[in-house]
Subunit: 126 residues, 2 copies
């Protein structure tokens, strides 16, 4: 398995999920060695959830998995890009296609686009 | 100024530089509040160098600055995307266009593309 430099940031590496077809940056989350291994083995992106402190199979609950099309490692081996097919069309828990749906305009954040799904219907009223 | 959640990771937030024209992910580095402010004020990307522990005006030495075309903030305000024009055509210190120039192929990393410039000529023999 390709080795990454997990030491620099206490065992975690930032992972960028990018839409393989459009190039849109969908989200940024973190991987640990287990998540890295599971992602490469299964072909579906796994992250490490910092808030829940557990392995996080993205889309495991909602069915909106990220199918890996290609994986890129940066020059220092301390960041990765997963080029993915986003099942369900949205990566963000808000129902927006990308987590980066707010553009900085002066001192304000302006929302761009519309939700792809209603998060209450997908995740339930939690 | 738009507020980000710098607390989650000890004062730093990962920042993705993406080519505004092609959508290519060029690099990932980190910003602190000063780098965030300088980037918004000057329209050129500033990072926080973790290795040198100082403010890092990207391209300040080589002239290969990143001109900010748009800034996006994610749903948790703990990651940002800078859509940029990469002056000089390459973001990576190796002379490659993107730092993510190595694709995972089984247990190997395969280099994709060619250097845009010779780093020795741009940075000198350091």
């Amino acid at each position: 398995m390709v080795k990454l430099d997990f030491e620099k940031m206490g065992g975690l590496i930032p992972a960028i999920a990018q839409d393989a077809a459009t190039g849109e940056v969908l989200m940024l989350a973190y991987i640990n060695p287990e998540a890295w291994q599971k992602t490469l083995e299964t072909g579906e992106v796994h992250y490490w959830s910092r808030s829940r402190q557990e392995l996080w199979h993205k889309g495991g609950t909602s069915g909106h998995v990220q199918k890996v099309k290609a994986v890129y490692v940066d020059c220092d081996a301390d960041a990765v890009v997963f080029k993915v097919e986003q099942v369900g069309g949205a990566a963000c828990h808000t129902g927006m296609r990308s987590c980066f749906y707010r553009r900085v305009e002066g001192d304000r954040l302006v929302t761009e686009g519309q939700p792809v799904f209603d998060p209450k219907k997908v995740y339930g009223d939690k």
